[in-house]
């Protein structure tokens, strides 16, 4: 057995959130014991709430207020981080340990130009010469794939795309060439094409600067392609650790096997079954030449989009960020003015969105939310009828009546998405528009929601327009797919045909990215 030098050694680490009322609470991290080898890329996976982020933040020294390390130690290159003075600890951040977070859209100060923001890092770490700092920042921006660093230097964050912002954040984290780079879900809010670019950039600069990486993700395939070694966490404990290829082919713990099944979204293993579609029936929705633009821009976002959705069909809609998917959803739901015609069955169209956190009003209970569509439609019910309807709606999405009085903050992400789906079902629509309903959920919750959607489709015959960047899901449950690019539908057809032999450039690009990211393992 070869001996490795560890850059980080976590030794019997425990962490909890003790309060005055509960001085000895259930630990969030339980007796963690692992090392990060010098120069490796270590993946850390697990569902939300498994303690991945807490582990990373404990190493970085960026724990949220109230978190207390109740036992054990973390050694970084021999120095004990848990015993270190705060001032020294802060100096290590940026210079020895760099961190990249999940949400690039909000991770940059909106009032500060990119250059000023990056310049500040160098200034903080004692680089006095102004010209030298500028040189260094421009160099780093170049390394991170910007062809015109000068241009980016004087831009504000809102003038950049999500992928560009993430590259700026990588530039910031790597600016002082830290030995350890912690990436906390760096790609989960990006589309597949951008994800590939970001991952290859990360791999590239880690290699160049000889950085060690701790890579946290709930995207198993990204981990598989990117990491040398993977650890699996569950409820604050490490349940599996191994080499990446190895683990995904031969999972050791049952839990890892379950995660893999969920991530693979295998229809047979999950017991998914969709309704059969009769394409000779008249469509539930016909969209013709839809055009739309935003007030402050001169260019159309949608340039004559045409498509139709048949009864009982789950129509997949794919396309990279900025192709007009979200604008199309807004137009279909009547949330923004548009040109062209949308012929729709007169029953209302339901909607489920990406982020179940901000979709629910934190001030109201689940019952209030469920009844909201009825109130909006002017349906008059007495108290008992209201409770019956709400209870029935909860049961339809697999939740018990206990949840009626809960507030959104007392629910998990998956449960909130169930409530959102229940709301969209209240008026028994013939069509539900689902805009990236899985992307903010971990793979287990995503699998459950996917199953729920197919159940609704099969049992009620509800049609779906499913917008997703997960081509794997489209392959599994959508009989037909449309591909959008630049505001129009550039390709349309049976999913099996489109995915096997894409005709448009846009579809080809998406599939290539998908193949790079998810590899052959996930196709059938």
């Amino acid at each position: 057995m070869t001996r490795h030098t560890h850059i980080v050694k976590v030794h019997h680490l425990s962490l909890a959130f003790p309060t005055r009322h509960d001085p000895d609470p259930k630990p969030v991290l339980k007796d963690l014991d692992f090392g990060i080898r010098d120069g490796e890329i270590l993946g850390l996976i697990g569902n939300s709430g498994s303690g991945k982020t807490m582990t990373a933040m404990a190493i970085a020294g960026l724990l949220p207020e109230g978190a207390v390390i109740t036992g054990g130690s973390i050694k970084f290159a021999g120095e004990d981080l848990t015993a270190m003075k705060p001032r020294r600890r802060r100096q290590m951040l940026g210079s020895n340990i760099g961190v990249i977070f999940q949400e690039p859209s909000t991770a940059l100060d909106p009032l500060m130009k990119i250059g000023t923001n990056l310049d500040e890092i160098l200034l903080t770490h004692g680089m006095k010469d102004k010209k030298e700092r500028r040189e260094r920042v421009l160099n780093m921006l170049g390394t991170c794939g910007f062809t015109e660093p000068e241009e980016i230097y004087s831009r504000y964050p809102h003038q950049l795309s999500g992928g560009q912002r993430q590259r700026v954040l990588i530039a910031g984290a790597a600016l002082l060439e830290p030995r350890l780079l912690i990436c906390d879900e760096p790609t989960s809010s990006l589309d597949t094409v951008t994800t590939i670019q970001i991952l290859s950039l990360l791999k590239d600069i880690c290699h160049k600067m000889h950085m060690t990486v701790l890579f946290i993700s709930h995207d198993l395939s990204a981990v598989r392609n990117f990491c040398d070694r993977v650890m699996v966490m569950r409820e604050g404990e490490i349940v599996d650790r191994d080499l990446a290829e190895d683990m995904l082919l031969h999972p050791r713990s049952g839990y890892t096997a379950e995660l893999l099944t969920n991530a693979r979204l295998d229809t047979r293993m999950l017991g998914l079954e969709r309704a059969t579609v009769d394409y000779s029936a008249s469509p539930v929705l016909v969209a013709k030449d839809i055009t739309a633009r935003y007030d402050n821009s001169s260019a159309d976002v949608l340039k004559g989009t045409c498509f139709e959705i048949y009864p009982r069909e789950i129509l997949g809609l794919i396309g990279s960020s900025g192709c007009g998917k979200t604008t199309l959803v807004k137009s279909l739901l009547g949330l923004m003015p548009h040109g062209g015609t949308i012929d729709c069955d007169n029953r209302q169209t339901g909607a489920v969105f990406q982020d179940p956190v901000s979709c629910l009003n934190p001030a109201h209970s689940v019952e209030w939310h469920l009844l909201e569509p009825l109130r909006a439609a002017g349906v008059k019910l007495n108290k008992q009828e209201r409770i019956n309807r709400a209870t029935q709606a909860l049961q339809d999405v697999g939740l018990s009546a206990d949840y009626l009085s809960r507030r959104p903050r007392q629910l998990s992400g998956g449960q909130r998405q169930r409530i959102a789906i229940a709301m969209s079902l209240m008026l028994e629509p013939s069509l539900i528009v689902a805009d990236e309903p899985f992307s903010s959920l971990d793979s287990s919750s995503a699998a459950e929601i996917l199953k729920l959607l197919t159940d609704i489709n099969r049992e009620r015959g509800t049609s779906f327009l499913l917008i997703t960047h997960n081509i794997h899901i489209v392959r599994q449950i959508c009989p037909r797919v449309i591909v959008m690019d630049g505001g129009t539908v550039c390709e349309e057809g049976l999913t099996s045909e489109v995915l096997a032999a894409p005709k448009s450039d846009a579809a080809r690009r998406l599939l290539e990215a998908e193949a790079t990211l998810h590899g052959e393992n996930f196709s059938e």
């Binding site: 970085a60 960026l62 802060r90 100096q91 290590m92 951040l93 940026g94 210079s95 760099g98 961190v99 977070f101 949400e103 909000t106 991770a107 940059l108 100060d109 909106p110 009032l111 500060m112 500040e120 890092i121 903080t124 770490h125 004087s154 504000y156 809102h158 954040l169 910031g172 984290a173 402050n296």
Partner: protein
């Protein structure tokens, strides 16, 4: 660079057009209000025993024998050039009366604003540092109490305390700025404080939650991960971001202060615009009244213009239109 500057200019230009349009609406409404009010101005001035010849002569003198559109144009032209005619009760140009009283009200308002900023900003930073702790709780409760008490009650309490018990303030003694700046400020300090107190509470409450919100944002986490000190994060990131929204609040506070000063002047017996306005109402001095309303509106509109420009300068996202 040039793109940002261009956007700035374009935004300022648009706002300026808005400002001018608003002023015309305000001038029209002011003029219309005084034209619809029933009663003959000449009759009010000369009393019930005036002869028709006397009334006609005065009407010609005041220009109220002219048709309405002509009178409006004359009035607007006058308003924009500083010629608002003569006060009917003081028999001197309206503009002179306003100019004479302005230092009292303006000085008091600016002093109050300085107090608001100097007190509420550090307090909110202190409170937001550790929300829910003892210091924060005390500040918040005190803030609620001060917010609830109207300025004139505070004024009376302060007068009793400072002039009756402590003897550090003399009631009703206003020292004009030309007789020494220190005395001028000293004579206005207490009334300014009375106006400022509830506004301090309001600004504190607002700034505190703005800072707490910014502290919890993602970019603060990023800056921490870059190794920046908490003080630097506060000064360079959290405060500028909180300021974006606080500019609006400060503008509201300032226009409130101007309005509040009208009452406080009365309580403190100061010869400011507020008392002039009350006198004008009392004596039905329409030229004076309409002139004052127009200029008060002018100040408010300019204030909001300045606030819009400041907001756009501090937040690059506002410029995109």
């Amino acid at each position: 660079m040039s793109l940002n500057a261009k956007q700035n200019l374009k935004y300022a230009g648009l706002k300026l057009i808005e400002l001018i349009a608003t002023l015309f609406v305000v001038s029209f409404l002011t003029f219309a209000a005084f034209s619809i009010i029933p009663g003959d101005t000449a009759q009010i001035i000369l009393g019930p025993n005036a002869t028709p010849a006397q009334l006609d002569r005065l009407r010609a003198e005041l220009g109220i024998d002219q048709p309405l559109p002509v009178r409006y144009i004359t009035w607007v032209a006058g308003a924009f050039t500083g010629n608002l005619g003569n006060s009917t009760s003081f028999k001197v140009p309206v503009i002179d009366l306003i100019a004479q009283r302005l230092p009292v009200t303006l000085g008091m308002s600016i002093l109050a604003l300085v107090m608001v900023i100097v007190v509420s900003y550090p307090l909110s930073v202190f409170s937001a540092r550790r929300p829910g702790h003892l210091g924060d709780t005390v500040c918040s409760i005190l803030g609620h109490v001060l917010f609830a008490v109207p300025p004139f009650v505070l004024s009376l309490l302060l007068i009793v305390l400072c002039s009756g018990v402590l003897h550090i303030f003399t009631m009703g003694k206003y020292a004009p700025p030309e007789k020494g700046f220190g005395n001028y400020i000293a004579s206005l300090a207490l009334p300014a404080f009375a106006i400022a107190l509830p506004k301090i509470a309001m600004t504190f409450k607002f700034m505190r939650s703005a800072i707490i919100e910014q502290n919890a944002s993602e970019y603060v986490k990023t800056e921490r991960s870059h190794g920046l000190s908490e003080a630097r994060i506060l000064l360079r990131h959290v405060l500028p971001n909180s300021n974006v929204s606080s500019i609006t609040i400060i503008t509201l506070v300032l226009s409130d202060i101007l309005g509040g000063s009208l009452i406080v002047e009365q309580v403190f017996n100061l010869p400011g615009l507020g008392r002039l306005l009350l006198t004008a109402i009392d004596r039905r001095d329409f030229p004076l009244l309409s002139g004052m309303i127009f200029y008060l509106a002018l100040i408010t509109v300019i204030l909001y213009f300045a606030s819009d420009i400041l907001s756009s300068l501090s937040d690059p996202r506002i410029r995109i239109k």
